[in-house]
């Protein structure tokens, strides 16, 4: 009886410990490393997809630019979905929640830019681009201390 009770206690304690460890989540460094691994291939794919987009807009080839923005939007949406699923470090939840808010807004801006380019509305697309860049910089400022590279917004990746 005593042995059974002791075994059950050990199992219970181990379970509690395991739950506690899981609840702690990763450290910030571990989190950044995990996210950067996800963001790196997507950031590189974005850069490839957006190549020549500036020249397309300058040359008034808006449909071609729209196609590139469409691809970038799909990549960005996929990245956000993947990184949102990664457990967040304890104490950083609020900051990261705010960051993901900005990232969702970025995705929305990209979708809107693509739609406006498809419709041939260059002026509307230019206004949205201003907001997209501004929002990207705000997003970067929220997670400055994380030292992201591939997961941060960089204007240079967009053509």
């Amino acid at each position: 009886m005593h042995a059974r009770f002791a075994a059950a206690l050990v199992v219970a304690l181990l379970t509690v410990t395991a739950v506690a460890v899981a609840a702690e989540g990763p450290t910030r460094d571990e989190y950044v490393s995990q996210l950067e691994q996800i963001c790196k291939p997507d950031a590189e794919a974005t850069q490839r997809a957006m190549k020549g987009a500036r020249a397309d807009v300058s040359g008034e080839r808006l449909a071609a630019a729209a196609k590139k923005f469409g691809t970038a939007t799909a990549i960005f949406g996929g990245t956000v979905k993947k990184i949102a699923a990664v457990p967040r470090p304890e104490g950083d939840e609020a900051k990261l929640g705010k960051w993901f808010g900005y990232l969702n807004a970025q995705e929305s801006y990209l979708k809107q830019i693509t739609a406006q380019l498809r419709a041939g509305h260059a002026i509307k697309a230019q206004r949205l681009t201003a907001r997209f860049i501004h929002n990207g910089n705000l997003a970067n400022n929220v997670v400055l201390a994380f030292g992201f590279n591939y997961c941060s917004f960089k204007f240079s990746r967009y053509g």
Binding site: V57, S58, Q126, T129, N140, N141, L144, A145, G147
Partner: protein
């Protein structure tokens, strides 16, 4: 910035300070006031703008570039020693020094700001301020505030900007050459300054603000040290471009950098 090589080449100079992306009118409060990046405890920042904002679509017009940036630590600790500063500028802008007087490092040594202006005023291409932290043994660090003057010059036959920094308290003068380098990519022109250990406390660089630009007359013609255009299609009113990137190389061999994107409007 593209360096002008031949006289009379102005008409053929490609306009454009930068490659444009989608365009955009910079709404009020528009782009963030300075972009930042962090590496460990160290934060780098850069802000800047082109003036005027409104530029011709098809030909370069005189401009000035204002930049402000620096380093700080998140925890308020000591700044690391910087061994090199690199300022990347768009390769498609126009830099002209034809007919602009040149100054030598020698003439600026041991001069106050007023004396430097007197000695090389004709070569002046910019001005600003900078701060650096002074770290001395057995003493609390303190910050030096210096006035900056930028002069057109050459170093080993290469075009350069000679940066003259003068601080009154304690009296300190440093002349730092930023040499023009050509490269590839978005920032095809780089101004590079090495900060040797002989500079003493100055390499603990904290902050700078600088405006570059100069209008001058040469052979009866008005010229500009810097020129740019806003080459966007007629149906679009404004464009975005990468204006500048600053990279600091640190004593430990690491680098920290950030770049800024800004807009221009077509006149």
């Amino acid at each position: 910035m593209r360096q002008r090589a031949r006289p009379g080449a102005k008409a053929r100079v490609l306009s454009a300070l930068a490659a444009l992306t989608l365009v955009a009118a910079l709404a009020a409060g528009g782009i963030a006031r300075g972009e930042r990046a962090q590496r460990g405890d160290l934060i780098v920042s850069l802000d800047g703008q082109l003036a005027p904002l409104k530029l011709p679509r098809g030909r370069p017009a005189p401009v000035s570039v204002s930049l402000e940036g620096g380093l700080q630590t998140a925890g308020g600790g000591e700044l690391p020693r910087v061994t090199e500063v690199q300022l990347g500028l768009p390769s498609r802008g126009v830099l002209s020094t034809r007919g602009l007087p040149s100054c030598s490092r020698h003439r600026l040594q041991h001069t106050t700001t007023a004396e430097a202006r007197e000695a090389c005023g004709g070569a002046l291409v910019g001005s600003g301020q900078m701060q650096a932290d002074v770290l001395l043994p057995n003493q609390e660090p303190f910050r030096i505030h210096a006035d900056l003057l930028a002069f057109n010059g050459t170093v080993d036959g290469k075009r350069a900007v000679l940066m003259h920094a003068f601080a009154a308290k304690p009296p300190t003068v440093v002349v730092l050459p930023f040499v023009f380098h050509r490269g590839a990519g978005r920032f095809g022109t780089a101004l590079v300054a090495d900060l040797p250990p002989s500079l003493g406390p100055w390499p603990h660089f904290a902050h700078f603000q600088m405006t570059l630009g100069r209008r001058y007359e040469y052979r009866g013609r008005s010229r500009s040290y810097l020129s740019a255009s806003c080459p966007i299609p007629p149906r679009i009113t404004a464009g975005f471009f990468s204006l500048a990137k600053v990279t600091f190389t640190l004593e430990d061999g690491g680098e920290i950098s950030t770049g800024i994107a800004r807009s221009c409007r077509a006149s």
